[in-house]
């Protein structure tokens, strides 16, 4: 599978999805007015990846800001990953949040309570 590599912009995150390495990474800001446009190809890629997943998939979510439009799309990303996990593949989510950013930590905990994949909350310095 071809990897997805997207550079970040002021309104959209940088993305690295690499099937060979089992890496799913979203970093930066996700605040576009219409997030579906941005996330649809990512969710489609994961759908395909679910057929041939790596033994171990590491998911790094390191967002500075995200809007509510993105929050639904991020849930869709997690739902695809949950299916991979359910099919007895190892999936680990590293949810990064900047110190003092309780809102971002809480957002990670909200996803953790909805999605059945192991989450690790990682605090990073501002």
């Amino acid at each position: 599978m071809e990897p997805i590599i997207i550079e970040g912009t002021p309104k959209t995150p940088s993305v690295r999805f690499d099937a060979k390495q089992g890496l799913v990474e979203i970093k930066g800001r996700s605040i576009p007015e219409n997030s579906v446009e941005f996330y649809k190809p990512l969710v489609d890629w994961l759908e395909q990846y679910a057929g041939v997943p790596a033994e171990r998939t590491v998911v790094n979510i390191h967002l500075e800001y995200f809007n509510t439009s993105s929050s639904k799309c991020i849930l869709d990303v997690f739902k695809k990953l949950e299916a991979i996990h359910k099919a007895k593949n190892e999936v680990l989510v590293n949810w990064y949040y900047e110190e003092d950013d309780e809102d971002m930590l809480e957002a990670g905990e909200d996803y953790e309570s909805i999605i059945r994949i192991p989450f690790k909350m990682i605090e990073v310095e501002d």
Partner: protein, 186 residues
């Protein structure tokens, strides 16, 4: 008394104004406003967690405007651009205030009022549950709105949403929403 936009705008501009805008709410405008506010916040002596909250809430407020503006009344169509909206970010006492204003069809007012009243009646825990429920169960609209904006704003600020509907004519109301972010962490 009939609704006067200038007066309403003047009232929104009370306090220490960081940013004020009235006109067309477009994607480009939102990008520009966010850039301006980010550099202004850089210069302000407030905890970075509070700055992040202001930025986050501003993003939601602007995108709420963007997704929910109804076409403006014919009478003032010549006066203002299409997709007319108002935005003011100001500081009053210990609070940052984000005020937005836009025309909405009077037919929608009741539903919107009920939604805000419902949000305002919920505790912190109940808001969190509502957020998770809507996140997990509601589909995104074609424009990318998810019905989560106001819930998210209330959840992040921990303050009640303040609103006024000014009746404009038979068809339209002007919806003024004031959102408050406390300067000290609550």
């Amino acid at each position: 008394m009939s609704f006067n936009l200038q007066e309403s705008y003047k009232k929104m501009n009370e306090g220490d104004v960081l940013l004020a805008y009235k006109g067309s709410i477009t994607t480009e405008l939102i990008t520009n406003v966010l850039e301006v506010i980010e550099s202004k916040l850089d210069d302000i002596n407030t905890a970075s967690a509070v700055k992040k909250k202001i930025y986050n809430v501003l993003v939601e407020s602007l995108q709420n405007l963007f997704h929910h503006i109804d076409d403006i009344p014919d009478k003032i169509k010549d006066e203002f651009d299409a997709r007319f909206g108002v935005l003011v970010v100001a500081k009053e006492k210990e609070m940052y205030r984000i005020s937005t204003g836009n025309f909405v069809r009077t037919a929608k007012v009741k539903q919107l009022k009920e939604k805000i009243d419902k949000i305002n009646s919920l505790s912190k825990e109940e808001l969190k549950d509502m957020y998770k429920f809507v996140l997990n169960h509601q589909k995104l609209s074609a424009k990318g709105g998810g019905g989560l904006g106001l819930i998210d704003i209330a959840k992040k600020t921990g303050n009640k949403l303040e609103y006024i509907f000014h009746n404009y004519n038979d068809e339209f109301d002007f919806f003024n929403l004031n959102v408050f972010i406390s300067e000290s962490k609550n």
